[in-house]
């Protein structure tokens, strides 16, 4: 009896082994034999993708630990530059000064648009760039001036470390002013929450974060859809970068490779971004 149980156990064990080794997909093989902790921080637009990838990797290779923190693009660039993390994400291209000062290597793995968003109940569906600039600068303060209901506009913006803010400010606002009394929220998710719960709000988020709880606005008649971002018709677009300081460690390299492998690209697309080639 004991013999048979032992036999059964070995059968099951070998089955499990066969299944788990069979499941291995190419992009994850690079992690084989690696161990240690990979620290990632920075852009909040990157977090959904990073979390999904980390989950896949850590499930397959328990010896690897991947920690993910937010903070914004500025934090990502600063922390990787100071060596506090292995990979620093940014939703904007690091400035030349940052690249040279820290010796950064850039890896642009996705393209993403930044869309102005309002509450779904708001009838406004499209704005000109002029109107957007006026609203964010505080020259237009009521929705009825841009074809909406008679309601004061609540402007939401991000903190200065945000890459989303940087891109929106540069490409949609033409580096114009943002009103000082605008409410500052710390992340893309927070922006979505704030706008989704405030019928008079306007804010801006990464296209990957847009869902049915918020309404993305067309800018000068161009919808911020994935096709329009990909083709370049929607102008407020940016790359999503993962930066390393100099030569990445083996673990960081494997992770970056994964972002460009088919498995990684599938996850990137599933989170609403456009995978980019190396």
């Amino acid at each position: 009896m004991a013999y048979r149980r032992g036999f059964l156990f070995i059968c099951v064990l070998s089955c499990i082994l066969a299944v788990t080794t069979g499941v291995h997909a190419g992009g994850y093989d690079a992690f084989k034999g690696l161990e240690g902790t990979l620290r990632i921080s920075g852009g909040t637009a990157h977090i959904p993708v990073m979390k999904a990838l980390a989950r896949e990797v850590m499930t397959r290779y328990p010896a690897i630990r991947i920690t993910i923190a937010g903070g914004g693009s500025g934090v990502g660039i600063k922390q990787v530059g100071e060596g506090l993390v292995d990979i620093g994400n940014s939703g904007r291209r690091p400035t030349d000064q940052e690249i040279s000062a820290y010796g950064l290597r850039l890896h642009r793995w996705a393209v993403d648009g930044v869309a102005a968003v309002v509450h779904p109940e708001n009838p406004v569906r499209s704005l000109t760039s002029r109107q957007v600039q006026d609203i964010f600068a505080g020259r237009v303060t009521n929705w009825k001036e841009v074809g909406g209901p008679d309601r004061a506009i609540h402007v939401f913006t991000r903190d200065e470390a945000s890459g989303t803010r940087h891109v929106f400010w540069k490409k949609a606002l033409g580096k114009g002013a943002i009103r000082k009394d605008a409410d500052v929220v710390p992340s893309n998710g927070a922006m979505k929450t704030a706008v989704a719960t405030d019928p008079a709000a306007i804010g801006y988020i990464s296209v990957g974060y847009v869902d049915e709880t918020v309404q993305a606005l067309a800018l000068d008649g161009v919808e911020p859809s994935l096709e329009n971002v990909r083709s370049g018709r929607y102008p407020v677009a940016r790359g999503l970068y993962s930066n390393t300081k100099g030569q990445p460690s083996a673990l960081a390299q494997a992770f970056l490779d994964l972002l460009f492998a088919p498995e990684g690209r599938r996850i990137i697309a599933s989170k609403g971004y456009i995978p980019a080639d190396r």
Binding site: G71, G72, G74, V75, K78, E82, A152, H154, F156, D159, E160, A161, K180, D181, A182, D183, V184, V185, P186, A194, T197, D198, A200, A201
Partner: protein
């Protein structure tokens, strides 16, 4: 004195020295790290200027005003409330109510601040927005309510301790003179516990000033001098939590250490004042 006692004394003394070095080293760290800012601007400019880092202005006045406004207003709300609660606990209500109230207040000191903030985000902010139709709902008022609720329990406990320390003979004398409980409370207990009350008030002010999460989650965080309770504002503490993200070499980053220093100085002044007042009470009662 035996050798063993000397040894124990030495070990304990070293530990005490280490512990006492902590508050000093915190201050020194703040000073050193704020130096880049202090060496390029004068202190008065920094303390009275506006915050516009893109234009090279690193003043922290908006944050100081917001912190002060928020702390003093929440104190103004919670002081009478605490006084009332402490009065109830002291004996203005039958023990059947006073004892459970005291228990509840004690338990409330254990409510995590992040939970106050969480409830504020999902309950208070939408309510404020609908009631006042002003702003996004994230404003001083939204932070004020949970903040005053947070400091009330500790203040109440402090006040009831101060009331309990009022010498019994005075109370008995007042009762013998025909004073009813309310009269005794208003004319005897409160005046003789005034130093304890003041100490509790000052310490609670320090605590309201030092709260981070409620202000960060509910006050809106716009770096401007607020002109009303429905305006978005950023406190010193929230400023630290937000700007910690800045470049390590930048002056913005140095400014959070200035904020830390201001908070440090204000709260330690509060602690010193409270200690002085309590010391005076002790001397009087002796």
């Amino acid at each position: 004195m035996s050798r063993r006692e000397r040894l124990v004394r030495k070990i304990l003394g070293t530990a005490t020295l280490c512990a006492a070095a902590l508050p000093l080293s915190i201050l020194i760290f703040m000073l050193i790290l704020a130096r880049p800012l202090l060496s390029s601007f004068s202190v008065s400019d920094l303390l009275t200027g506006s915050w516009a880092p893109l234009q090279g202005r690193y003043g922290i006045l908006p944050m100081m005003v917001a912190s002060f406004l928020l702390a003093s207003c929440s104190l103004a709300v919670s002081f009478p409330v605490s006084l009332g609660c402490a009065g109830l606990i002291f004996g203005l209500t039958p023990p059947m109510l006073a004892v459970p109230l005291r228990r509840l207040v004690q338990l409330m000191t254990g409510f995590p601040t992040v939970v106050y903030g969480f409830v504020g985000v999902f309950l208070l902010v939408p309510t404020v927005r609908h009631l006042f139709h002003a702003g996004s709902g994230r404003c001083l008022l939204s932070a004020l309510v949970p903040l005053s609720l947070m400091i009330t329990p500790t203040m109440t406990l402090f006040f009831s301790d101060a009331f309990a320390a009022v010498p019994r003979p005075i109370l008995l004398a007042a009762a013998a003179a025909g004073a009813d409980p309310v009269q005794r409370f208003v004319w005897v207990v409160i005046p003789s516990a005034r130093r304890g009350l003041a100490a509790g008030l000052v310490l609670s002010f320090g605590r309201a000033l030092g709260d981070t999460l409620i202000a960060l989650m509910l006050a809106g965080n716009a770096a401007q001098v607020p002109s009303g309770f429905l305006e978005s504002a950023r406190t010193l503490t929230a400023h630290i939590a937000l700007v910690i993200a800045a470049d390590l070499q930048s002056l913005e980053f140095a400014s959070i250490f200035l904020c830390g220093m201001v908070l440090y100085v204000l709260t330690s002044c509060a602690a010193l004042c409270a200690w002085k007042m309590r010391a005076a009470t002790r001397k009087n009662s002796r």
